[in-house]
Symmetry: C2
Subunit: 354 residues, 2 copies
């Protein structure tokens, strides 16, 4: 059942060629371009076998062969070699990422922009996954007599806030007190906990003004917590995919766009607790069966985990892209390490494949 050396060579050649040219590849062109020392006829026979085993497909009777998801999987797992980044790409990553090293969100957004620029694919990036994040403190800040800001900060430093407008004025005292009470009640609890559990009802309901304020604030508090789970997803370069031959059909392009607009789907994808570069090809994916999703993890002080990824057709340069993403995430993790610390808590160059 294992593939012969020659079959592997042929498969590799077909993948390389197809990834390059986006057109079904025939036996003759393989024989000419890649020096396998056999005739087209032999290659045809092998291709026929490969097709039977599910590595190749046939768009129609007399077209060349196209690699299947299974072929790409084999390629990613066993065949492909790590690529060295071009000097230009390396420079780009080093320069552009270091420019704003001290700011979290901005850096992540830049990383996504960078990634889509280099790979010419659509990319996205997520600040540290937060459903297990714990709440650090809650603040209510005054704007005017009826308007206030609700601010939630997690231990990891993630911030979310909403502006609320109340129907009745509030007092500064009530605000301070409620801030304090809420912080005491929720500090150290995870977002999941708070969202799934019941609302704590005894948050200082003894004072009247406070209880009224509390009633106005709590619904927003819950909604804002929900926001924390998906608000920090940046998406970039979606128009890149228009340049790919697989999306010249308007229907395909529309499908892609509609999926890309579904932030929640990506958030879902991102919550998986894996490490390193992960490639999910075509059918392995539930939705978007003709796309490949590649994600990579970066680390903050070796602890917290955020993700960055690209999405495109299954036909993509797996070797280059995974190498780029590895380099990029290592670079990110490096930036986010405490200056003093030496521990490399998983920020290294391990790579895990599905």
């Amino acid at each position: 059942m294992d593939l012969s050396e020659r079959q592997l060579q042929i498969l590799q050649a077909i993948i390389t060629d197809y990834v390059e040219n986006a057109e079904p590849v025939g036996s003759r062109s393989i024989a000419k371009k890649y020096d396998l020392g056999v005739s087209p006829a032999t290659i045809r026979n092998e291709m026929s076998d490969l097709e039977e085993m599910g590595y190749l497909t046939h768009p129609h009777t007399s077209a060349g062969r196209v690699p299947s998801d299974k072929a790409y999987r084999l390629y990613v797992n066993d065949l492909m070699k790590k690529k060295n980044l071009s000097a230009k790409d390396k420079r780009m990553i080093n320069d552009r990422l270091s420019a704003s090293r001290d700011e979290f969100d901005r850096t992540i957004r830049h990383a996504a922009e960078l990634l889509s620029e280099i790979t010419h694919l659509a990319s996205f990036a997520m600040t540290p996954a937060t459903n297990e994040e714990t709440i650090s403190f809650i603040r209510l800040l005054p704007v005017d007599e009826r308007t206030l800001i609700l601010m939630i900060v997690s231990e990891g430093g993630q911030v979310t806030n909403t502006t609320l407008r109340l129907t009745v004025p509030y007092t500064q005292e009530a605000l301070d007190l409620l801030s304090k009470n809420m912080t005491v009640s929720y500090k150290g609890r995870t977002l999941d906990d708070v969202l799934k559990g019941e609302i704590i009802h005894d948050v200082g309901s003894d004072i009247e003004a406070l209880s009224a304020l509390r009633g106005s604030v709590m619904p927003s508090f819950i909604r804002t917590l929900e926001d924390m789970l998906n608000v920090n997803l940046y998406m970039e370069g979606m128009t890149n995919i228009f340049n790919l031959p697989e999306y010249t059909s308007i229907d395909r392009a529309r499908d892609f766009m509609e999926l890309f607009a579904r932030k929640d789907w990506f958030t879902q994808k991102m919550l998986a607790r894996d490490d390193g570069v992960v490639v999910t090809i075509g059918e392995e994916n539930d939705t978007m069966k003709d796309c490949t999703l590649i994600t990579a993890t970066y680390h903050v002080d070796g602890k917290l985990v955020g993700k960055i990824g690209v999405i495109g057709p299954t036909r993509m340069k797996y070797d280059e892209i995974t190498s780029i993403m590895e380099y990029l995430t290592n670079n990110l993790s490096e930036s986010f390490r405490l200056p003093g610390s030496t521990g490399d808590g998983n920020a290294g160059d391990k790579e895990q494949k599905k």
Copy 2:
């Protein structure tokens, strides 16, 4: 030079028909569908005149006529009548908007979603324009020994924050002191002022720890201020345009998408200080010469001004869409009025056309 009554009727008929069917409209179909009491031949003559005057165009010799930008302009200014919203649309707006009446940003985002759902076009919405907004206070909040949150709040209640990571630890005292000093220095000044003016250098540079902290914080402060100008732009429903016949060509679709991705362009557009519903048709627009942009203004306590808009091909149902937007913005302004106040500071149903 004025158009005759009959010419106006014909022009109106052509516009109505073309907006509906997206196909060049011929003399015969006009004569049949709209009861003008004249023969196709007469209509042909009039159409020829209208074309000479620049109200109609000819895709090619033997196709029907298509309205020009000039025709739409005439239609919008003089011909179209206000439309009554369907009960369904009204209900949708009332229901969906009131659900989150107390939260600013969320409401605006919902309004954009709603608008694109009802109009089947791409929409966007902007929270109050802020380059003339004044700073209310600045806070620095601790996360861990090297991480802190920088938060800027404007008088109007707009909030922006960034998480900073410093290379050296800071003290709580320094943080509090710097918060206070910065607030004192910048309170009441407009964003424009601060961004254009020089940085105030004498913010308590007498204490050493403080001055170090200040050095780390100030660059981010400036960048964060810049963020305040354009961060709150929501865009929705861009995939709607794929369903329109003018965007079945992949090139057109790409152009549209690329423009739509340029947030800065929209922000620019939105800063115009106009009121009510404003329609900008085709060439009147500098970029995107084949699109129409309709914006509408909403009010907060009759003072502050935010905008909401749709964008689509010049062929659109101007009467319906402007009516919807008027209704929607009135509704928004209503929600954002102080419960007690009666003054209607411009929140009424005035409408201004270009």
